[in-house]
Amino acid sequence: MPVFKTPFNGYSVKFSPFYENQLAVATAQNFGILGNGRVHVLQLGPTVTERAAFDTADGVYDLCWSESHDSLIVAAIADGSLKIYDSSLPPAANPIRSLHEHARECHGVDFNSVRKDSFLSASWDDTVKLWTVDRPASVRTFKEHAYCVYSAAWNPRHADVFASASGDCTTRIWDVREPGSTMILPAHEFEILSCDWNKYDDCIIATASVDKSIKVWDVRNYRIPVVVLNGHGYAVRKVKFSPHRGSLMASCSYDMTVCLWDYMVEDALIGRYDHHTEFAVGVDMSVLVEGLLASTGWDELVYVWQHGTDPRAP
């Protein structure tokens, strides 16, 4: 499987929902502590080639593809801004928008796959903001968390529901029509770095935490987790449910591995890939190609491979 080397440390990777062979990578210089950033748009082939690259003044912590426009990418920048890039335009015409409202770093961004016109940004200023591409200002601000919000994820079936994962050890479920959060899940005893919804059961949500575990929750009975997945050696950085199998999910961790889980099964860990030599920070499963995984990490490498194969195989 071809590998792509980024000049900066990788932070996030996302497959395009329009093109099977395209993906975007968010990178930040100097491990994201201080430095520039770059958004790469990669094309898969016999080798992985770079279609476009956009430089930013500060590190890029996360990005997402637009669900309605095939070449738009929203990037979460470490200076608190969100920048929208159009990969069909040359770099000189990019970014096409810059939205700067957050007081601290923007750490997560997610596009609404049902309504396809709005996206969320999760920031270290404890807030989540709702935006649309055509408006220069945010539509809503959700301010309840007591600490940094690391990630926000739209519900795959309900256009108005989303979840946020925060360093205050809670995951909150929100409805954009309500003024405040509708549910508070005290999911872990430590910071929660990521959350994602089950694409095939809209009431199941997974949370990944610094306590090295992933917990799967049913919001209808949220006091007890459905299952607790242990196996990572260090904090779990990101968790992603499979778009093709209801109980399958991928996770990446500071223990440099990407793991695949099936939480309905007794022995839930069904795959483990240790190809990275530094923190594995981003992972994604392709919506268009079943079983296709991508991951990136602080070792400045982007791997794309099929589940069941060796990512490092030539």
Binding site: P17, F18, E20, N21, N30, G32, I33, L34, G35, L44, P46, A57, D70, L72, K83, L89, A93, P95, I96, A103, V114, R115, W124, T127, L130, D134, P136, A137, V139, T141, F142, K143, H158, G167, C169, D175, P179, G180, T182, M183, P186, F190, E191, K199, D202, V210, R220, R223, G233, Y234, A235, H244, G246, D255, M264, V265, E278, V287, G291, G308
Partner: protein, 528 residues
């Protein structure tokens, strides 16, 4: 299932009154009947709402917590956060706050979410300003985190230092005056007394007989010795006081030195303030790997290995927190952190202007229509087949770069691993069960239509997927039925995919999903 005490599904306009309506019993009773029906035909949004009634025990525990004097002194935000982490619902927390006579008015403001049509977030953050202002938000004046506390302490030290210096000076002057006024005259009187005694003894000596001369001489000598001793004692006392004064002044000088050191550290902290956003970023990045003590807000731990500068705002690397061990960071990460600590900027950073060159330019038109997701309804999938064929040509242009035009072979990322499938076929004979779909997959089409289970490395897991374990932890009957529903769905899904993905029966797949599949694309946020 706990009876939902919130608004019935249809009345979304009642939802904002949720916190209030939870308490009033009659409202709950009125909704009892509608609740039962509401559960059965629950609309999507009601599932994502807390449907439990208020637990009195939890509220009482919260009231006890909030009434504790130490808790009273903490910011409201932290109290709320603590209760949330203990699993209390919003309604229970609000009720507890209501019961505790809380003088701070921040209860209402902490809950408010400002809908900013004009992008004014300052107004909402003002309500939050008081609790996190001191430490969390970057204040323009005070340093962040521990150095703010240091600043306060150092200010105290200043006062204390000035006070101490004044006190010492006064005491030193007082002792000097005392010495001059009290001890020296006493000394003089002692000498005069001795001298007068000698004089008195002189005439007495002449009257007395000669054999008393020796005695008197001895007495005189004794008196002289006593006087000398007194003088010596007095001089010693003077010396002692002088040495005390010296000590006082030395202590004073030490204190001044301490003050200058603190001044230096404060200037260092000010320097660090200039790179404060970096510091905060590092702080947060490290918090991801360590436990954050709630009482100390964002004060990070310092690494045992690294520099233990107490005035440092951030930790140099994620140290081992209470339970989960922190991941070791790469060496160059440590180097960069050390550079930032010293105030140096890494040399590889460029000045980049990433502002949009034309922010008002309208967004270009998309070239592709959105594709339906694999988990969306079957009807969407059928339509997707037709749209996919129309898009194949446009996808072909992408493949052109890869020189796959007109090539029948599947790109490597779509090809399932042949090696794995060979293993699978071998295992199939072993297990005797048709494990996975046969090798003649439709390779000409993209494999997202229809979804097939990927080749699993561990056939046992695949077999286990067929019969997922009955969840023993779900004791509730309803949940058991839910889990069996899920297993039925799984079995149905796998059967369908095995048959080659013939999704002709609409009812088959749509039956898997919940009945109320809302396609809510009609509404828009902007219209509310």
């Amino acid at each position: 299932m706990a009876t939902p005490s919130d608004a019935p599904p249809s009345s979304t306009d009642e939802k904002p009154q949720n916190p209030v309506s939870q308490v009033t019993q009659p409202t709950n009773d009125d909704r009892q009947d509608t609740k039962v029906e509401g559960v059965k035909e629950s609309s999507p949004t009601s599932v994502f709402v807390n449907s439990e009634p208020i637990r009195e025990e939890q509220v009482q525990n919260a009231v006890k917590f909030l009434s504790h004097p130490k808790v009273r002194g903490s910011p409201v935000m932290y109290r709320r956060s603590f209760l949330e982490r203990k699993g209390l619902t919003k309604e229970e927390i609000d009720e507890a706050f209501r019961r505790v006579p809380d003088p701070t008015p921040a209860v209402a403001t902490t809950q408010s979410v400002v809908t900013n049509q004009d992008g004014q977030i300052k107004s909402s953050s003002n309500g939050q300003q008081q609790p996190p202002a001191q430490v969390l938000q970057p204040t323009p004046v005070g340093p962040v985190g521990s150095s703010s506390k240091m600043g306060i302490l150092s200010r105290f030290h200043w006062y204390r230092a000035v006070f101490a210096v004044g006190l010492l000076a006064v005491s030193g002057a007082g002792t000097a005056v005392l010495i001059k006024n009290a001890i020296v005259p006493r000394l003089k009187s002692w000498i005069r007394k001795v001298a007068s005694e000698e004089d008195e003894e002189g005439p007495m000596k002449e009257n007395n007989a000669k054999p008393n001369v020796a005695e008197e001489a001895a007495a005189a000598a004794k008196a002289a010795a006593a006087a000398a001793a007194d003088v010596a004692r007095a001089s010693q006392e003077i010396l002692i006081t002088k040495s005390e004064e010296k000590r006082y002044f030395e202590e004073l000088i030490n204190l001044l030195n301490v003050q200058t050191n603190e001044m230096k550290s404060m200037s260092n902290a000010v320097q660090k303030l200039e790179g404060q956003s970096i510091n905060g970023r590092i702080t947060v990045e490290e918090q991801a790997n360590q436990r954050v003590s709630r009482t100390s807000s964002r004060q990070p731990y310092t690494n045992g290995k690294a520099d233990a500068d107490s005035s440092s705002v951030r930790s140099l690397s994620p140290p081992a927190p209470v339970e989960p061990s922190a991941a070791p960071h790469p060496k160059s990460y440590m180097e960069i952190m050390a550079m930032i600590q010293r105030g140096e900027k890494p040399s590889n950073i460029r000045e980049i202007n990433d502002a949009p060159p034309n922010p008002n330019q309208p967004v270009s038109n998309p070239r592709l229509a959105p594709k339906p997701k694999p988990w969306e309804s079957n009807q969407a999938q059928n339509s997707s087949l037709t749209t996919f064929q129309s898009q194949e040509s446009s996808n072909g242009s992408n493949y052109g770069d890869n020189q796959l035009n007109g090539d029948d072979t599947l790109p490597w990322w779509q090809r399932k691993n042949v090696r794995i499938t060979e293993i699978e076929t071998a295992d199939e004979q072993k297990f005797g069960s048709p494990n996975l779909p046969s090798n003649e997959r439709p390779v000409q089409r993209s494999s997202w239509v229809p979804p097939q289970p990927p080749p699993v490395v561990m056939p046992e897991a695949a077999a286990a997927i067929r019969q997922p374990k009955k969840s023993s932890y779900l004791s509730d009957d309803q949940l058991l039925s839910q889990s069996t529903d899920v297993t039925d769905e799984l079995q149905r899904i796998t059967k369908i995919s095995e048959s080659g993905g013939a999704v002709d029966a609409n009812g088959q797949i749509s039956g898997l999903q919940s009945a109320e599949l809302p396609q809510e694309e009609n509404g828009s946020y902007l219209e509310t």
